[in-house]
């Protein structure tokens, strides 16, 4: 069995790494799951992962 635990900073608490990374990404409005998946894939390919040493997976929550 595998459990997934998410620990996130509370709202209004400064998250320097999150802020720096989001600054390097584009904030784009999306309407469909497909669009969200396409944009997330592009973000991974262009910045978030390094293909030499990392792999990624994407979960879209509606």
């Amino acid at each position: 069995m595998k459990i997934i635990i998410n620990v996130d900073p509370k709202e209004n608490i400064l998250d320097p790494q999150g802020k720096a990374v989001s600054h390097a990404l584009v904030d784009a409005p999306v309407e469909t799951e497909n669009e969200a998946m396409m944009i997330a894939t592009e973000m991974c390919e262009k910045l978030l992962y390094n293909p030499l040493i990392e792999k990624y997976s994407i979960v879209v929550e509606l």
Partner: protein, 224 residues
């Protein structure tokens, strides 16, 4: 008089040492370049200095590699311009795909700051032409992510094309094949973890860094 650009990102911390090395040691003009700059002034050579650009968030060099100035630097290098990335500058060059591979966390997982010895593997590059092949030189390192890694196939290609320029005589960080510095295939872009800009005065430990800067100056003078 030649003009050298020194790129400054938020978090760069070796920029002043690099500017000092150019202006006071090899007596050339040095221009600081802010990371938002897209139109570069006429330059003979660009230094991407060490530091912790964007706090090393995500991966060292990853966010800096997507900044506006890197597009211009890539175009400068594509035209044959000389680019040297030192420490964080090396990490930025691999994240920009201007050099192959990646710099992982040191094998010890610790930050290492000390003097080390290097072997000059290739003395026929713009950066090393004033050294002799296999000369042993002294430079300091100061990094936590200097463990160079690349696929076996790429390593073979790097060796065949003599792109490996410096190797550690006593590997401090786990780098594959003791690699401390390498060039791109064309030979005009160098990335290295040790700090030449911190080795510019024999009375302060070593002036082997000066020889790297003098080599580039000689190359630039010969090719203009």
């Amino acid at each position: 008089m030649k003009t050298f650009g020194v790129v400054i990102f938020p978090g760069s911390n070796c920029d002043l040492d690099a500017l000092y090395s150019v202006e006071k040691v090899i007596l050339q003009k040095a221009v600081p370049l802010w990371h938002k700059c897209e139109d570069l002034p006429p330059l003979d050579w660009i230094i991407i200095p060490g530091g912790f650009s964007y706090g090393d968030y995500l991966r060292p060099g990853a966010i800096a590699s997507r900044s506006p100035i890197m597009k211009s630097i890539k175009a400068f290098a594509d035209r044959g311009g000389i680019v040297i990335g030192i420490c964080n500058g090396f990490q930025i060059l691999v994240e920009t795909n201007m050099l192959p591979g990646v710099l992982l966390r040191n094998e010890s997982t610790r930050f290492i700051s000390k003097w080390i010895t290097l072997k000059v593997e290739n003395a026929r590059t713009p950066f090393t032409k004033l050294f002799k092949k296999e000369q042993i030189i002294n430079l300091p390192i100061a990094h936590k992510d200097g463990n160079y890694f690349v696929s076996y196939e790429t390593l073979k290609a790097l060796q065949a094309k003599k792109q490996i320029v410096f190797s550690y005589t006593d590997n401090p960080n786990g780098s594959i094949w003791n690699i401390a510095g390498l060039t791109n295939e064309q030979g005009n872009v160098l990335g290295m973890m040790p700090h030449p800009e911190r080795a510019i005065d024999a009375q302060l430990g070593s002036d082997d860094g000066t020889t790297i800067f003098r080599s580039i100056l000689k190359y630039v003078k010969e090719h203009k």
